[in-house]
């Protein structure tokens, strides 16, 4: 595995370029299906050589539309920001024996998950190696804190935009704190591989790592400002994508070496199936129909279908998997520090491939999913919001009965969601067992989930943007028919 450890300070790594181009490709490929789905059953009308009426009703989106507005500029900016965020990963932290470190990394499952999120920064030991992770941690912590401190919750829910801004500000501060802590942790973790472990080195490294994280957070916010998708998700998206080719290459190389062509085929096919399945589940929603306390609804008959309360089948996202992976790794860490042999046995049983790994993991996922779903979508709160919006579920009285109703629905949904996440978590291991190949890193369900979520989100935003331009662009179509 010499390929991954190539040291490339200037970022002229082939990974980089292929990473970016593959983002592009995946965008393109992800855009086209989602457009079709949104134009629904209405067939696109051919627009060539037709008049204005056809042009107006033409809902198809081609690349001409894409280039007519500010979108290309925005995408260039987005790519620029993403490239910038990648660059920091290739500027190395000095004084570390890299090869020894990477060797160790492959054996540690949490670190490698983190490594995926930070785009291989940890493995490469760049100054931006913490990446967006401290910010994500801060976000999670604030989300949890909001449950404990009602004041925070008020800020988030009742103060509107201003309150959210304030929380964002707190999150930023906290992310710096997390960055420092994580940087210190990382620096000490690196101790065995450091040539000259001095106080100056520690201080300078911690500062650099923290600054790197702050920079990444900043870039993430700028990306959000472009309104092409959530900056944090896009950064993770890039990280994962940038890892895919190399990791995939490694698996392929392994397969070719062993002549395990069926295995390779199975992996590729199951990967594609996984992606399809995730796209499907990710878009799956339970739509609860609503009545609004406003006039005119009865007259506009067909509109009633857009009045609904949507709950995603997988509303907790990847969080349950992350939580459960972290919990599973806990015994191993404890065992290493304490050296108790009983713990060691437990830890061994709980490592991937261990006898209890799969059942425990699935149980934990189900638990965290249930917990997290209700944490995000508190039935009482949803019921209150419905009331505020003047909406009500038919034949369910607003207030407590509505909350109860929502609780039942969410409870059922979370069972489905847990099953889905369990498949995601167990999938790679099962495939590995069948094919006897090391599955590539991006294969993990979490990564694909993030990829799909981020891509569909961005696709919708791009689509909305293109639509806004379409109203104006119609002028460019052939208008000769009006001047005979």
């Amino acid at each position: 595995s010499s390929e991954a450890s190539v040291f490339d300070p200037l970022g002229i790594n082939p990974d980089e370029t292929s990473g970016l181009s593959s983002i592009w490709e995946s965008f393109v490929s992800l855009l086209s299906p989602s457009f079709e789905s949104s134009s629904g059953n209405r067939r696109d009308k051919p627009s060539s050589g037709r008049g204005v009426a056809a042009a107006i009703e033409d809902s198809s989106i081609d690349f001409g539309d894409f280039f007519k507005g500010p979108l290309p500029g925005k995408f260039l900016k987005l790519l620029g920001f993403l490239a910038l965020s990648r660059l920091g990963i290739y500027i190395p932290l000095g004084g570390v024996n890299r090869e020894a470190f990477v060797g160790n990394l492959d054996q540690n499952s949490i670190l490698s998950t983190l490594d995926t999120f930070s785009g291989g920064g940890i493995g490469r030991l760049g100054i931006c190696s913490l990446g967006i992770v401290p910010f994500i941690n801060a976000q999670i912590v604030f989300q949890l804190l909001a449950q404990v401190y009602p004041k925070l919750q008020d800020l988030q829910k009742k103060e509107g935009e201003a309150g959210r801004k304030k929380i964002l500000q707190y999150t930023r501060y906290a992310s710096v704190g997390f960055a420092i802590v994580q940087a210190i942790g990382q620096v000490f973790y690196l101790r065995p591989y450091v040539n000259d472990f001095s106080t100056e080195w520690v201080v300078s490294s911690v500062t650099l790592l923290t600054l790197g994280s702050v920079l990444t957070t900043y870039i993430g916010e700028r990306i959000s400002d472009l309104k092409l998708g959530n900056g944090t998700s896009l950064l993770i998206f890039t990280s994962i994508i940038s890892y895919l080719p190399a990791s995939f290459g490694r698996t392929t190389a392994e397969a070719l070496q062993e002549g395990n062509y069926t295995g390779l085929g199975t992996i590729v096919v199951s990967f594609l199936l996984l992606v399809l399945g995730i796209v499907y589940v990710q878009e799956a929603e339970r739509k609860i129909p609503l009545n609004y306390a406003s006039r005119y609804t009865s007259k506009a008959g067909g509109l009633q279908k857009s009045a609904y309360l949507p709950f995603k089948v997988n509303s907790a996202g990847v969080m349950p998997i992350i939580f459960s992976t972290s919990s599973l790794a806990l015994p191993a860490t404890l065992a290493r520090f304490t050296g108790i042999s009983a713990l060691k046995n437990v830890a061994f049983a709980l490592t991937p491939g261990g006898s209890f790994y799969l059942p425990t993991n699935i149980l934990l996922i189900a638990f965290f999913n249930y917990y997290y779903t209700f944490l995000q979508l508190d039935p009482d709160d949803v019921s209150e919001q419905l009331k505020r919006q003047g909406a009500s579920i038919p034949l369910v009285r607003p207030g407590k009965s509505t909350a109860l109703f929502i609780k039942t629905v969410l409870g059922r949904i979370s069972v489905l969601g847990s099953a889905f996440l369990a498949v995601l978590a167990a999938g790679p291991a099962v495939v590995e067992q069948i094919t006897h190949l090391t599955a590539f890193r991006g294969f993990a369900g979490t990564s694909v989930l993030i990829l799909v979520g981020c891509a569909t989100d961005t696709a919708r935003k791009v689509q909305a943007e293109i639509i806004s331009q379409k109203y104006k662009n119609i002028e460019f179509y052939e208008l000769d028919k009006y001047d005979p």
Partner: protein, 950 residues
């Protein structure tokens, strides 16, 4: 640019000096031209306009013409008005020309500034609109400063409320047009409901100067202009709901959120309401009790009499929160107004339905170049920048401003505050200073008035109550006099010019009015028949104390003569009050007069004003000596901007003055937005009537106010983002409509409609993916013939032979659809030549109007519905854009299908029998939700025949 950067950093202390430096060189070049220009004769000066026009047409940039144009206007202004624009006014003009917002203090001559860029930009021949807030100002400005461009050979137009479309058209075609924001906006909407080219009045937009720009683009941003037609009759449900609301108790049956202005029913409330109304689900869309009940509770708790509205002659009139004025003809939407009417036990007016609407934001953004002036914009500069891309530039004052804004005095309880306010007023009153007290509602102004009466301080009250509004001019005229005390609501904000010592011209006008009106105005009777109480006889008598002196005999005689000649010319007691008022105000303004009678009145007016001026100047000196006008604020407003407007009444044109705000921690704004910090302080302070001084407290109060500003800004911003969707669709639809309206031949469009509709039918009945064997020709033919009876020769066999493939079938049907249209056309033309064209146009326009009207409601509904998409981690705005687009496509397809269907079915009939049936538009009487617009009919052009459409 460094200056700009620095001023950006030190925003707090920006007094416009950096602006002065920035424009110094251009001002200098205007000044250099002055000697040359002032040597010109009148006609030579006028020729300069033509020379400049030619240069502009040759493509020379406006910027290069600026120095000469400004110099020409300055000279003309000197000759015509006797006013030479100061250098700072030139700077103001330059800022406006750059398309920015010029912040200029009260009394700095904004009106005059506007003509500088207006003249310059009119040189291109594309027209300039100068927008004011009311009809009176538009006319005054047009007649007064409008003389300058008129003198220079430009045409100056004026739009007033009651003008005919022909007059409007003519005036809009002038080089410079003075118009109010509402007239301009409504003319735009009316143009887009026009059914013939002749009805269009507006020209293409080019450049627009908005006076009081913050009032229009920020305060009014939340209320769109709406042209509405009557909908169904009001139901009894309002009264029932009002009864329920009055029986319900706060916090038992419902809770109130004052910040978001919403009410929520509690569990108990739902249960009881359902029981009383005997329904299973309050939200049942068939009955919609929920909206009635919630509106009724809102009306009870959040919409208070004499604060949010007043009642006049059985009508609920909204009081504008920003201006404190009654908004004639405006109604709250979504049944809220009806709920208030039900609460007050008044007759409930009809529901209405929106035919066309646009927000001021989006309306004014249509101008390629937009600018505005106001006294207070800098606090909202971020908003202007982010939404309108308008930069705010502070223009320096001519004389330095010496008003002292003293630090706030804060009390714990409201009572302590009011006591202190009374003490402050009496203290100032004793020294002889004029005092203006600002209050936030009609109710409060009355309460304070009561307190002052008890304290024995004579004072005037200026609020939206009818009896006070009538005397507005009278009150303002003497607000600046020695020891005068005036309690006002926000009415004494923009445009109120309080002149120290008293306003001699106002007084002279009132004097003239007193003499003139009883002699020329027709006594009103018959109008008030329904009211039990007889109306008080109008005397137009003004309190004698108002006038600084008794009119000398000589002046009185002069006035008497002028009035006599007026009576002779206009007839004894034969004018309506409005007409008489109009002629009077015309006589008392500065515009040129041609009419002999008006001229006489003008002479009398000027003479009286001169005599009064001798006294008021004397008094002015005394007031200035005492310290000028003192402004007392009694509550912080929703934004610092409105506070500043109140403060700005004092210290005009370098006069001395001061201001002080008295606050209490119990004030609404701090109670609702203050948060825990202020709540905590309230508990900490025990004393009720001693002022609290604390840095921390002041900071907390500022913080609270900023929070309010941000809160409303976010709301406006969000509204704007959502409105953008509607706006681009409106643009699209109006463009298409306009095209259909002005197009000479609609044939190609209708052929396209026919073809596309045939495609639709084919696709709906035989999809492109259906295998050929299972094509259902019967169904297809039935549908085609339902659309077009002319195609009754179609048989399955014929189609089978014509269409071997799907594409072949498609082509064949398209051709048949086209032919059927042409055939129809021929038939109709034979019966009545030229009719088809009119019919086509009518059908297209009426279908667009009707479906657009429905689309507006649909969008509104979807906007509400997408609010909950956040629960699936989706951005509501994006969802709104996507769903809105789908609705838009559906609407456009629907229009097309309806039009082609009606054309196929079109049967000319000689007799106009079912006139009503032909247009879905009917004859909507225009009821306007915004601004003062009288109901007026938007007629549908007389169609030569009726259209029998099923």
């Amino acid at each position: 640019s460094l200056g700009g950067l620095l001023s950006g950093i030190f925003k707090g202390s920006d007094n416009g000096e950096s602006t002065r430096q920035q424009y110094a060189s251009i001002v200098a070049s205007v000044n250099r031209l002055e000697t040359e220009i002032s040597a010109l004769s009148d006609s030579e000066l006028r020729e300069r306009t033509d020379a400049l026009k030619q240069r502009a047409q040759k493509g020379e940039s406006m910027d290069s013409l600026l120095p000469e144009a400004f110099a020409v206007v300055r000279e003309a202004s000197k000759r015509v008005l006797g006013l030479r624009p100061f250098d700072v006014q030139l700077i103001g003009g330059m800022v406006l020309h750059k398309g920015e917002i010029a912040e200029m203090r009260t009394g700095e001559g904004k009106t005059l500034v506007a003509i500088l860029p207006a003249y310059l930009n009119a040189l291109s021949g594309k027209g300039v609109h100068v927008v004011t807030v009311n009809d009176y100002l538009a006319r005054r400005d047009c007649e007064w400063v409008g003389q300058v461009p008129r003198f220079l050979g430009l045409k100056v137009g004026l739009i007033q409320q009651n003008m005919t479309p022909e007059q409007r058209k003519e005036n809009y075609l002038c080089d410079i047009t003075y118009v109010t924001n509402s007239e301009l906006g409504f003319d735009y909407l009316r143009d887009n409901l026009a059914t013939s080219v002749e009805e269009l009045v507006l020209r293409d937009f080019n450049y627009c100067v908005i006076d009081e720009v913050d009032s229009i683009l920020i305060d009014e941003a939340r209320t769109p202009l709406i042209i509405s037609g009557p909908a169904e009759k009001p139901s009894d449900q309002y009264y029932k709901a009002a009864k329920i609301a009055s029986a319900f108790e706060r916090d038992i049956h419902y809770t109130v959120d004052e910040k978001q202005k919403t009410v929520l029913l509690t569990e108990q409330g739902y249960e009881d309401a359902e029981e009383i109304l005997d329904v299973k689900d309050l939200y049942d869309p068939r009955e919609q009790w929920a909206s009635y009940v919630l509106n009724a509770i809102k009306a009870k708790e959040l919409f208070l009499r004499d604060v949010n509205y007043i009642i006049r002659a059985k009508e609920v009139l909204i009081v504008d929160e920003f201006t404190g004025r009654v908004m004639q003809g405006r109604r709250w939407s979504d049944g809220l107004h009806q709920a208030v009417e039900a609460k007050e036990g008044l007759p409930i007016q009809n529901e209405s339905i929106t035919l066309a609407s646009i927000s001021y934001q989006n309306f004014f953004l249509q101008f390629p170049k937009l600018c505005g002036m106001t006294g207070t914009a800098s606090t909202e500069s971020a908003e202007f920048e982010s939404i309108y891309k308008l930069k705010v530039t502070i223009v320096p004052t001519n004389k330095p401003m010496i008003r002292k804004d003293e630090s706030d005095v804060v009390f714990k309880a409201v009572n302590g505050k009011w006591r202190a306010v009374v003490v402050e007023i009496s203290r100032m009153h004793k020294t002889g200073r004029a005092v203006l007290v600002g209050t936030t509602s009609v109710e409060q102004s009355d309460e304070l008035s009561q307190l002052l009466r008890e304290a024995g301080i004579t004072h005037e009250v200026l609020n939206a109550k009818p009896e006070n509004v009538e005397r507005e001019a009278e009150i303002v005229a003497q607000s600046g006099r020695l020891g005068a005390v005036t309690i006002a609501t926000n009415m004494a904000g923009r445009g109120t010019d309080i002149i120290l010592g008293g306003n001699a011209e106002f007084m002279a006008r009132l004097k003239l009015r007193e003499i003139l009106m009883p002699r020329v105005v027709k006594p009103t009777d018959g109008v008030f028949v329904s009211v039990k109480k007889a109306p008080p006889k109008r005397t137009w008598k003004v309190n004698e104390k108002l006038f600084p002196c008794k009119l000398s005999n000589e002046k009185a005689k002069l006035a008497e003569e002028a009035v006599q000649s007026a009576v002779e010319a206009w007839g004894q007691k034969s004018l309506t009050e409005l007409e008489a008022e109009e002629r009077l105000s015309y006589s008392c303004e500065k515009g040129p007069v041609q009419d002999e009678v008006i001229g006489k009145l003008r002479t009398a007016f000027l003479a009286i004003a001169k005599e009064y001026k001798g006294y008021t100047d004397e008094e002015r000196k005394k007031v200035v000596e005492a310290g000028g006008l003192h402004v007392v604020g009694t509550e912080r407003h929703e934004s610092r901007r409105i506070d500043n407007q109140l403060r700005g009444r004092s210290g005009r044109q370098g006069d001395p003055g001061s201001s002080r705000f008295f606050l209490s921690l119990e004030d609404n704004i701090f109670r609702i937005f203050g948060g825990d910090r202020i709540q905590g302080m309230m508990r900490a302070f025990r004393v009720e009537d001693l002022p609290i001084e604390s840095k921390m407290l002041t900071k907390a109060l500022d913080e609270a106010q900023r929070k309010v500003e941000n809160y409303f800004f976010d709301i406006r911003k969000q509204l704007f983002e959502f409105d953008e969707v509607l706006n681009s669709q409106r643009d699209r639809v109006y463009t298409e409509r306009r095209r259909a309206l002005v197009s000479d031949s609609l044939e190609p469009l209708i052929i396209e409609y026919a073809e596309l509709t045939m495609d639709d039918i084919l696709e709906a009945n035989i999809g492109p993916d259906t295998p050929k064997e299972s094509w259902d020709f019967e169904k297809l033919i039935a549908k085609v013939q339902q659309y077009c009876y002319l195609l009754n020769d179609l048989t399955p066999d014929l189609l089978k032979s014509e269409g071997s493939s799907y594409e072949g079938l498609q082509d064949y049907l398209r051709a048949r659809g086209r032919d059927a249209y042409l055939q129809k056309r021929e038939i109709v033309e034979k019966q009545s030549p030229g009719l088809m064209k009119d019919a086509e146009r009518f059908l297209i326009l009426s279908n667009i109007d009707r479906l657009w009207k429905e689309h507006l409601q649909a969008l509104k509904f979807v906007q509400q519905a997408v609010g909950l998409r956040g629960y699936a981690q989706r951005d509501p705005l994006i969802e709104y854009k996507l769903e809105g687009y789908n609705l838009f496509l559906e609407m456009m397809a629907q229009i097309r299908r309806n039009v082609i269907y009606s054309i196929y079915q079109f049967q000319p009939v000689r007799v106009k029998k079912d006139e009503e049936k032909k247009s879905q538009n009917g004859k909507p009487s225009k009821q306007v939700d915004n601004a003062s617009e009288k109901p007026k009919q938007v007629g549908v052009t007389d169609e030569p025949s009726s259209i029998a459409s099923a």
